[in-house]
């Protein structure tokens, strides 16, 4: 038997008033998998995340979380979510309060803080490197620090899956590198299942084990080295794309102005 399926998306379709955002998307995320979702702006990446997280209900198809239909799944704390922006609004709370709030769903909303809870929150703060700033106000932190707080908050509930939406937006390059190293370690050493959305093709291709390209429908799904070749960018993003190279020589980004029909790409 292979690894357990954590997330199963089957034939999902979703439309906003302006038109169809997603059609017929199907994939599974297995335990320990590191999946990156890429695609042009308006390609449905965030919509798909919201459907997986239960923030939106799909018009067609279904989502199962740990084998249960999403709408009946009650143990949401098993999935840690790091939203886009990391609370850019200056919310007047300390780092410690925000990280603890990630623990509330698991510990119950009236229960006292048990030694186990304290340990879990301590571990999460240490893993994300926010122990030393735990007494600072959120508004006093840099983008990178806020991102780490966001991760610590997600880890505090002891999740089995981590879902991140554009985690590197608003974070400087140095902090980004450290952040992806941290995610990779989490995946390798602790077997954390990770799913993240990014527009940064280079980073995603370098970091993840599986790549899913989305442009209103699934364009390709498989190992990055099997997908990123030839006319891949044009296929996913449309024809108006430019290749830009990172400091590290990685392919960085594809045009934001794209959004054309993707054409075929062989799904492995």
């Amino acid at each position: 038997m292979g690894p357990r399926v954590c997330i199963e998306v089957k034939g999902v379709g979703f439309g906003y008033q302006g038109g169809q955002a997603l059609s017929d998307v199907s994939f599974s995320v297995h335990e320990g998998e590191y999946l990156g979702i890429i695609g042009p702006n308006g390609g449905g990446k965030t919509t798909l995340l919201k459907i997986v997280l239960g923030l939106l209900s799909p018009d067609e198809g279904s989502v199962r979380l740990f084998g249960e239909p999403s709408e009946e799944f009650s143990q949401r704390y098993r999935i840690g979510y790091v939203p886009q922006g990391h609370g850019a609004e200056p919310f007047p709370a300390s780092v410690s309060e925000v990280v603890w709030s990630g623990r509330f769903p698991r510990m119950g909303l009236l229960a006292r803080r048990s030694p186990e809870d304290r340990e879990a929150v301590g571990r999460a703060m240490e893993a994300a490197g926010v122990h030393e700033i735990s007494r600072r106000l959120l508004g006093q932190l840099s983008g990178g620090e806020r991102q780490r707080v966001s991760i610590a908050r997600a880890l505090a509930s002891g999740p089995e899956v981590l879902i991140l939406d554009e985690p590197s937006v608003g974070v400087d390059i140095g902090a980004q590198e450290a952040f992806y190293a941290f995610l990779g370690k989490l995946n390798r050493d602790q077997g954390m299942t990770i799913l993240f959305v990014s527009h940064d093709v280079g980073v995603v291709a370098r970091e993840v084990g599986t790549l899913l390209c989305l442009n209103k429908r699934m364009v390709c799904h498989g190992r990055p080295e099997n997908i990123i070749k030839g006319d891949f960018l044009e296929t996913v993003y449309g024809s108006h794309v430019k290749n830009v190279y990172h400091r590290h020589g990685n392919l960085k980004n594809a045009g934001h102005d794209a959004g054309h029909d993707a054409g075929g790409c062989d799904a492995p």
Partner: protein, 267 residues
């Protein structure tokens, strides 16, 4: 030995009412301020005027009328907002204008209670009776209790609605509870500062507290302290200088806020 101003029964009742409202107004106000939703307090206050007018016409208790109408409006605002086809600001504005319009019509239908109504517009803490105190104490305790039970959910929902939803928090329920608590607080505060200034008592101490606080809990604790300081000094000043109590209380809190802006503070 009581100070001179506390030797009168009406001032004792005014202080008791003021202190209770001084606690609950910033408690609920904190959650409205951090969500940029303080206009809710103003809206509910204006709608309560219709409740007061209706109750006075029917010979019922005006505070009870205000509580009922404010609660109904709170549920209405949340329903309209929750559907997503009316933006929050517009939903609030519709209720605010509707409430005033209804109050004006009720007032025009029945002449003779204009003076009473005036005291709800600007507050008239000196006329708080023993029965009012019991109502304020009972419902005020309810507000504090419910807030205590829902504190963690309210923190999560205020911090990030989508995150709370993704963690399995029943966001709609929490939002309904918050607006209902706001409605109770507003209706109970009408006698103390008047409907035109309820929103001020619920937000200004919080805004000042946010300048000093190092955590969310400290925002709450400090805003209660600043609000109590405003109520006590406002009442004492209004007694000795013969000023309108509601206006004086709010002016003191504005003064505290201005001091909080002086350089060298937190942010």
């Amino acid at each position: 030995m009581l100070p001179e101003f506390l030797s009168y029964g009406f001032m004792q009742r005014a202080f008791a009412a003021g202190l209770m409202i001084g606690v609950i107004a910033p408690l609920i106000g904190t959650f409205l301020v951090v969500r940029n939703y303080t206009r809710l307090a103003d809206t509910l206050a204006h709608v309560s005027l219709a409740g007061v007018a209706g109750a006075l016409m029917a010979g019922l208790d005006p505070v009870a009328g205000a509580v009922c109408v404010a609660l109904l409006a709170a549920v209405g605002v949340e329903a309209l907002r929750g559907r997503g086809n009316v933006v929050a600001d517009a939903a609030l504005a519709i209720f605010l204008w509707g409430g005033i319009a209804l109050a004006v019509v009720l007032i025009s239908l029945s002449r003779g209670f204009n003076v009473d109504l005036f005291s709800y517009l600007f507050g008239s803490i000196a006329t708080v009776g023993g029965d009012d105190l019991i109502v304020i104490a009972a419902l005020g305790a309810l507000v504090v209790l419910v807030l205590g039970v829902f504190y963690r959910q309210m923190f999560m929902v205020s911090f990030h609605e989508d995150l709370a939803l993704a963690s399995g928090i029943r966001v709609r329920l929490v939002n309904h509870v918050l607006v209902a608590l706001a409605a109770l607080t507003v209706a109970l505060s009408l006698r103390v500062v008047g409907l035109l200034l309820v929103g001020a008592l619920m937000s200004i101490p919080v805004l000042a507290a946010m300048r000093f606080a190092r955590s969310f809990r400290m925002v709450i604790a400090l805003s209660v302290c600043l609000s109590l300081a405003s109520v006590v000094s406002g009442l004492v000043l209004s007694y000795y200088l013969d000023l309108a109590s509601g206006g004086t209380i709010v002016l003191v809190s504005v003064g505290i806020f201005i001091v909080s802006l002086l350089p060298g503070r937190n942010k």
